[in-house]
């Protein structure tokens, strides 16, 4: 005859599970309650609720979002609800719930301990408000943990299926990584998205006002105008000192609307020789930064691929000193970008001390010493050249790994069939290397689109990439709202590429 679970003799072991369950439910309620208390105690929220401020008071939604976001309250609430559900499970003597509660309480103790230690290392006394709470939480959680451990070992409990056990272990192992990524990635990203909709200034404690998509509108608005060139005395197009054609400015009304020309497009075949298309934007520096970044990324990645492929094919053949050669190829990659930027700054000096000018003059490649880093037309090519130097050997290593998995037999049978070397390359090497090439390309493109170090060191504020522009707006101008909007746009751009990459690679789930 089956005995009802509650009738089994268990009360002799530890405190009753009903009590434990009730404690957990209480813990859940306290968690959710303290979140609500925390929100109502926040200074921004209080000023939003302060009726005496009248029409000037900040919006409540923005006040809450600015201070807490969505993720954290959601997480705390679901943890509270989880504690309540687990509490009911423990009271019902559900072994899975008891063990999960045990693990959860263990993590609670660990995080409370970390909090306490952090507070103490920051010099807060143990008995202070913010230290004593976590310290007591450690003790309470440890006591609860012991009780739950005993409750989970009561004889007569149903066995937990092995699969459930494995899954619980897996999630326990993932907790540290998930918590860290939540704190350093998810929450900051969320804050960036929220801030991008406001006029927040950096390091200001005032509740910002909601501005909607204004920043995005400023960043993304473009207009194209056809402009004629300015005519010189002889009727031809006037040119400035550096040889560039001088164009008429865009119509006055558009200037009054805030548009400025970011750059001119004078495409042969599309526009007449004395005409160009002015790409106008509300934020000219930003639009120019996008253009520069895209040019930089596409040119440097293309060159790196070609050069990397050449290097990989060379090093792939067998010769003495191949191991040493591979180590050599890693050297430019290992040099910090800041160091290589300063090194090239030195090598590109416009005096005779600049080795590049000297070698260029000696070999007749250039006629006179060039100011590589200060001449507008040479800045981007110089940056591309430096990036190509630094990353093509690494690209070559990625491709080399791809070359090594191509079975040798394919080449042997091709040779038996009398295929030429060129034919071998086109019909065997290239198709089989395609995955490696794709991975290397996507990887490098993502990297090049984020370029910061090189531009910051080489050009300061003279030429911006999208990353250095974000930095400029955020750190130097302290416009957190606007900088956040740029950050979100970069995120979308990079993540578009990243999704492609992940799709392409696929994830092996076994």
């Amino acid at each position: 005859m089956a005995t009802p679970i509650s009738a089994r003799p268990t009360s002799s072991v530890g405190p009753g599970t009903t009590l434990l369950g009730a404690l957990l439910i209480l813990l859940g309620i306290v968690t959710i309650g303290s979140l609500a208390l925390e929100i109502t105690q926040d200074s921004g929220v209080r000023s939003a609720l302060d009726a005496t401020l009248g029409a000037g008071r900040p919006s409540l939604v923005i006040a809450v979002l600015d201070a807490f976001g969505v993720l954290m309250p959601l997480l705390v609430t679901s943890l509270g609800l989880a504690a309540i559900t687990l509490g009911m499970g423990v009271a019902r003597r559900d072994v899975g719930a008891t063990r999960t509660a045990h693990d959860g309480v263990t993590w609670l103790a660990i995080f409370a301990l970390v909090m306490t230690v952090l507070r103490l290392t920051q010099g807060a006394p143990l008995l202070a408000d913010g230290t004593l709470g976590p310290a007591l939480a450690v003790l309470a959680a440890l006591a609860l943990r012991t009780a739950l451990a005993r409750a989970a070992q009561v004889p007569g409990l149903a066995h937990e299926p092995l699969v459930a056990r494995e899954a619980r272990t897996a999630w326990n192992l993932l907790v540290p990584a998930l918590v860290i990524l939540l704190v350093v990635a998810a929450r900051p990203l969320e804050a960036t998205v929220i801030t991008s909709l406001t006029d927040k200034r950096f390091a200001s404690d005032d509740v910002p006002s909601f501005v909607g998509l204004t920043h995005y509108r400023t960043l993304l608005t473009l207009r194209l105008d056809e402009v004629a060139c300015r005519t010189a005395d002889d009727g031809s197009c006037a040119r400035s000192a550096n040889g560039a054609v001088r164009w008429e400015s865009i119509p006055r009304e558009t200037l009054l609307d805030g548009y400025r020309t970011a750059w001119h497009w004078d495409l042969p075949l599309v526009t007449a020789p004395d005409r160009a298309i002015s790409v106008g934007a509300l934020d000219r520096t930003w639009m120019r930064a996008i253009w520069v970044t895209l040019m930089f990324a596409s040119a440097s990645v293309t060159l790196e691929l070609l050069l990397g492929l050449f290097i990989a094919l060379t090093v792939h053949s067998e010769f003495r000193g191949r191991g040493a050669m591979r180590a050599v190829m890693l050297v430019p990659w290992a040099i910090p970008t800041v160091v290589s930027a300063r090194l090239w700054e030195l090598m590109l000096k416009d005096t005779s001390a600049g080795i590049v000018n000297r070698v260029g003059m000696m070999t007749g490649l250039i006629e006179s010493p060039q100011a590589w880093l200060t001449t507008a037309a040479l800045q981007l090519p110089s940056a591309i050249m430096i990036d190509v130097w630094k990353t093509s050997p690494f690209m070559a290593l990625l491709l080399l790994a791809g070359l090594q998995v191509i079975p040798k037999e394919l080449y042997e049978s091709a040779r038996v069939d009398g295929a030429s070397r060129a034919r071998e390359f086109v019909s065997i090497t290239l198709p089989l290397l395609k995955p490696a090439i794709a991975v290397a390309l996507i990887f490098r493109t993502l990297d090049a689109l984020r370029v910061f170090d090189l531009f910051n060191v080489l050009f300061g504020r003279a030429e911006h990439s999208v990353s250095t522009y974000t930095f400029e707006v955020l750190i130097n101008n302290q416009e957190a709202g606007y900088a956040s909007a740029i950050g979100v746009l970069i995120f979308l751009l990079i993540f578009g590429f990243a999704i492609l990459y992940v799709r392409f690679l696929g994830v092996n789930r076994t």
């Binding site: 969320e190 080795i355 993502l446 993540f495």
Partner: protein, 282 residues
């Protein structure tokens, strides 16, 4: 081995020339930096010569006796070490779960980790800036130790997951039969097998943290005492205040780069070791 006749050697000459050219392309700027760091002032502003005529280590002595530079070196070691520690501990736990255990939601987690390895740092700069300020660690080394897992952790977790997955299942099954717990399997059996992979991952995350510039610049811009080496080098104005101290910058650059280059040479062998360990049978 085939007989290396002179004819054979001659036929290979163009090939070796190409190899030499590639090596020169990769190494010459580096050689130039070392050479510059050894040159005397007179030579620096004269016509560029590949080798110093009268080498001097004075610039190295200057840089190494500069308190500010040594402090930035110590900061870099601390911050990179912290980054590696967090990445390897949290990363190896996560990797064990992702590489060896079965649970619902694993596919999504794998996608998340892989996508995170490409996370653009610049996008969260504004949010992270606020976080760091709220925690009261703005302008300290702690801000960097706190934020570096953003890029070290997903990378470490991903590399180690691939590695754990490559280990044969039989090892664990035998241990389970012998009555080992999950913790024992992880700590006593799998972790020792992963030491080569841990070393490789550790080295890579160390190099990436050591070279990191964006966060280092943003979070320590107001406090020179907390700056890491890349920030120090980018803003190096020299120990002796005169014209741009090229040789000293290069000496400082070489001091922070040489350890990396040496690590890379070691790392070459580690790759091989990691691959062999991955192919161990039972």
């Amino acid at each position: 081995m085939t007989r290396p006749t002179w004819r054979h050697a001659l036929r290979r000459t163009p090939f070796y020339l190409v190899v030499a050219l590639i090596a020169a392309y990769a190494l010459l700027p580096f050689v130039w930096a070392i050479s510059t760091s050894l040159k005397s002032e007179n030579e620096l502003f004269g016509p560029a010569m590949l080798l110093p005529s009268e080498p001097t280590v004075r610039h190295y002595v200057n840089v190494l006796s500069s308190g500010a530079f040594m402090r930035s070196l110590a900061n870099s070691v601390l911050v990179s070490g912290g980054g590696v520690f967090v990445a390897l501990t949290a990363g190896s736990f996560a990797a064990y779960a992702l590489g060896r255990l079965r649970f619902r939601g694993k596919g999504a987690m794998l996608y998340a980790v892989l996508a995170m390895t490409m996370f653009p740092q610049i996008s969260v700069l504004s949010g992270l800036y606020e976080n760091v300020r709220d925690l009261g660690i703005y302008g300290t080394q702690a801000a960097l130790i706190f934020s570096y897992p953003l890029f070290t952790l997903p990378f470490a977790a991903w590399v180690l997951t691939t590695f754990f997955r490559g280990l044969p299942r039989e090892i664990e099954e035998a241990a389970v039969v012998d009555g080992a717990t999950t913790a024992q399997i992880f700590g006593r059996i799998l972790l020792p097998l992963t030491v080569p992979a841990l070393v490789t991952t550790g080295l890579l995350t160390f190099i990436v943290s050591w070279n990191e510039y964006l966060f280092a610049l943003s979070f320590t811009i107001t406090n020179p005492n907390a700056q890491t080496v890349p920030v120090a080098i980018a803003q190096f104005t020299g120990v002796v205040e005169q014209q741009e101290p090229i040789a000293e910058i290069m000496a400082a650059a070489m001091i922070v780069t040489l350890p990396l280059v040496i690590l890379v040479l070691l790392f070459q062998q580690r790759i091989a070791a990691g691959l062999t360990a991955g192919s161990v049978k039972g």
